[in-house]
């Protein structure tokens, strides 16, 4: 009897002890930190077009870098399109254009915050032959070679651009997913059918030896930026495998594809024929890169944070998951040497469907009643998002800071005449977005705005909100400028032509606004003047039309394994700069 009682007592003590231990360790108090630690955004320099000297390789070296070793990227989903004609997603562009192929122009970022568009394959960012931006000439460098040692020629660049304009029998683009700026400028009527069925070169393209010329019917002063998009990456016609090119593009860059199993693993190894002296952008320190797919974002963060033995060469383009942000940023010293944070170029908005919410007062009220601090809190805090009140973000030269509708619940009620308004707020059907919707409903209720939260299948999100007949009043969308100019922010988002192009989410159709944007897009004025005009246009759009509620600017925090060095936040794509990474101990 005694032994049974003792055993029971012992068990009680053991359980009690464990509970007590849990209670003590788990009772840590959350004091909330002091906030405002995240870096703000500085104005971006107008000095962005580089010179011929800056187009000469090699790239600026990274301090402490050594050659050799393998870096492995763990990601959740694979790159949908590596074909340069179809590559328009941040991670694919970083891998494709950073490692596998080179375009006519590229962005030289020396690691000191500077950013210049320079010639990558070309000897300079472009020569404005007639001085009126209608004809641009590019000369290819010498000694450019593909992965099999064959020479890269201007003809191949011409072929690649023409190929990106190829059309199917039904008149639709064969490769519709890529950027189409240059292509639309060359062939505004859209008549060219491509090199497979039509002329080998698109209208406006002329090749002469190692020179390629683009001729436009209107002034296109931003051509140096347009040809920095991946679509000018060269493709020898013999290597054009059409749909298969998406999985295995032919390398003109420092690395080539050794093996690729879609959604599992891709291995990139050195292209021995790449000459670093011709390349002002890429350092190519590691011997190879591996990309592994299929890990969930939370698990990616957990694994990188843990940095277990054997995981020291890991990195990821996926930022630290929102749930773990405060744990990681609360103890930055623990991640010294493998941590990167900074503002990104992606701005977020709550677009208002102007087809349904036709009253400007209501749209203004939606802006005044929007509690930006609460939005940032429920989205994960300052390390996930920075407040933004403008239509053009601070990463674009010419940025103007304005807050046309400051947070003022009383003002919102006044604009609504004290009445209640029902707003159909669509959101992606995930737990987090549901939480955010509930928070917004709570806040907007204070101004008499009743939010009806409508969950939408996340896989179909952009398809649903881009539909002009959608039944929603307000919905989130994000945008990042294609190149540092308002011309890749305002026309896609607010020009009536872009409704068909599925990027004008507010469906705003104002002929006066269209005309203003059309004028700026073909202006022969210098880059700096146009940049400032775009900046001011954003304020005007907000004042006159209020088509959206600007919410925040993305902020990114990345962690890598401890054996990876050279962390830099690339301005162009706002990701970990793959061209500067190296293995500390190969």
């Amino acid at each position: 009897m005694r032994s049974r009682k003792l055993k029971r007592q012992a068990r009680f003590v053991a359980v009690g002890g464990v509970a007590l231990a849990l209670l003590v360790t788990g009772c840590a108090e959350n004091t909330g930190g002091d906030g405002n630690d995240a870096q703000g955004h500085e104005e971006r320099s107008m000095d962005i077009i580089g010179t011929a000297e800056e187009s000469v390789g090699p790239a600026a070296p990274v301090e402490g870098a050594v050659e050799g070793g393998t870096i492995t990227f763990i990601q959740n989903s694979d790159m949908a399109h590596l074909d340069p004609a179809r590559n328009y997603v941040s991670t694919s562009m970083m891998v494709g254009n950073g490692l596998i192929y080179r375009a006519l122009n590229g962005y030289r970022e020396d690691g000191d915050g500077s950013r210049k568009v320079v010639g990558d394959l070309a000897t300079d960012p472009g020569t404005d032959v007639n001085g009126d931006c209608t004809v641009w000439e590019y000369t290819l460098k010498d000694g450019l070679k593909y992965e099999d040692g064959s020479e890269i020629t201007a003809e191949h660049v011409g072929y690649a651009v023409s190929r990106s304009m190829a059309k199917n029998k039904d008149g639709n683009l064969m490769y519709p997913e890529g950027a189409q700026f240059l292509q639309q400028w060359l062939d505004p009527a859209g008549e060219y059918v491509g090199p497979y069925d039509g002329d080998p070169l698109a209208p406006g393209i002329a090749v002469d030896g190692n020179k390629i010329t683009f001729s436009f019917d209107k002034p296109r002063c931003e051509t140096p930026f347009a040809v920095a998009m991946p679509t000018t990456a060269p493709i020898p016609p013999d290597e054009d495998t059409k749909d298969d090119y998406d999985q295995a593009p032919f390398s003109s860059g420092p690395y080539k594809i050794e093996s690729r199993v879609v959604s599992e693993k891709t291995v990139l190894v050195r292209n021995e024929h790449w000459d670093p002296n011709t390349d002002p952008i890429r350092n190519a320190y590691p011997d190879s890169f591996e990309l592994e797919y299929g890990t969930q974002p939370e698990d990616i963060t957990t694994r990188l944070v843990a940095n277990a033995a054997g995981d020291e060469n890991l990195a990821s383009f996926v930022p630290v998951h929102a749930d773990q942000l405060s744990t990681v940023t609360g103890d930055k010293a623990a991640y010294d040497g493998r941590y990167l944070e900074g503002p990104r170029k992606y701005t977020q908005y709550l677009s208002i469907n102007t087809n349904r919410v036709t009253d400007l007062n209501v749209r203004q009220a939606l802006n005044h009643a929007f509690n930006r601090d609460r939005w940032i809190q429920v989205n994960g805090g300052e390390y996930a998002a920075l407040p933004n009140t403008t239509l053009m973000g601070p990463t674009v030269p010419g940025y103007v800071d304005y807050d046309v509708y400051p947070f003022d619940v009383e003002k919102a009620k006044e604009l609504l005449n004290g009445e209640t308004v029902k707003i159909r707020y669509a959101h992606q059907d995930t737990a987090k977005q549901g939480e955010i919707a509930a928070a917004m409903a709570d806040e907007y209720a204070k101004a008499g705005i009743e939010l009806e939260a409508i969950p939408v299948d996340p896989l179909d999100w952009y398809g649903q909100i881009a539909d002009p007949d959608n039944s929603f009043d307000m919905y989130w969308n994000g945008w990042g400028e294609d190149w540092p100019s308002g011309s890749t922010v305002f026309p896609p988002l607010y020009h009536s032509n872009s409704i068909a192009g599925e990027t004008n989410y507010p469906f705003i159709t104002e002929p006066e606004l269209d005309a203003k944007m059309d004028e700026l897009m073909v202006s022969p004025e210098g880059f700096e003047n146009i940049a400032e005009e775009w900046g001011k246009l954003g304020q005007e759009i907000m004042e006159k039309y209020a088509p959206a509620v600007p919410t925040d600017l993305s902020y990114g925090v990345w962690v890598t394994g401890s054996n990876v060095g050279g962390h830099y936040l690339q301005e162009n794509i706002s990701l970990l700069d793959v061209t500067k990474l190296f293995v500390r101990e190969p």
Binding site: A28, D323, S326, R374, Q377, T430, E435, A453, I454
Partner: protein, 350 residues
Amino acid sequence: MSDVDNRSTTPQTSDVPGQPPVALAVVDDKPSPEVPKEIIGRSPMQLAWVRLKRDRTAKVTGTLIILLLVFSYGAPLWAMLYGYDAYDQNPAKLDNSAIPLGILGGVSSEHWLGVVPGNGQDVLMTLLYGIRTSVSIAIVSAVVVVAIGAVIGAIAGYVGGWVDAVISWFIDVMLSLPFLVFALAIVPIITNLVLGGPAARPLWLSATMLLITFMIFYWMSTARLVRGQILSLREREFVEAARASGAGMGHIVFKQLLPNVWAPILVSFSLLVPALVSTEAYLAFLGIGVGEPHPDLGRLVAKAVNGVKAQQTGAWFLMMLSGGTILLLVLTFNMFGDAVRDALNPKSKK
């Protein structure tokens, strides 16, 4: 001597005791033979009830269930006294990343069990409202499911022949379907069908979707049970008598047979309720149950688990609270269901 016949009910004159033969006028002070006490016939239900009341487990769990129902259905009243409702958001009690301030996830004199990360709702109120939601959905669904199962099972058992064969085959097929995979697929499809495209999802809609899902996947065990009972009952005389007096199948099944299988049906029901409580919780955990902003236990567990994975302070406490509440509900209802089953079964040892 001849033996006394003790089994006969009619009094035997030969063994009437004590009366001396004729002559002596002796005062008779022996009482007359006892009139037997009135025999009170008890129905099986009353017998079961007596047995149930005697069972200690039933008393404890029954009381607990009543308390839970009072607290959870009375939650709006308590909210008035307590000061916070499950729908009130308190973002000021959260830090910059929407994680609760303070210890144990925001435990304080205002919020006795802390606040929920994200929007800061009161945890105690969320638990109470969540219990109400879970129990309501479970009980209503259980009633519907048992009704469907009983009818199908009774028809299969009574009619027999190819109808029984087809229904039994169908039951086997439904039992072999993986519930979770189908639930994850069906709920969004039916929701879309009903709503005809993206639309707001009110509480009644989520509850109805869950009810439909349970209706499709949970009737089988009751059907089999009832079918078995009916098979043994249908050869009894009363069925034959009913058939002989011209009763149709409907009358026999619904008025004669089913009323006699109320005991297994009741047991089936009382064990289904906890099963549905836990299923509703894990469907909500996976994101296809009751949506924001309505309080739900499964969704609360999901938030707590995210917090634990991210090593947020106080998340484990929320996980224990939310998981523990579901555990308490399921355990209580299960044990009560066991006690009901024991009370209805006269052959069980007690």
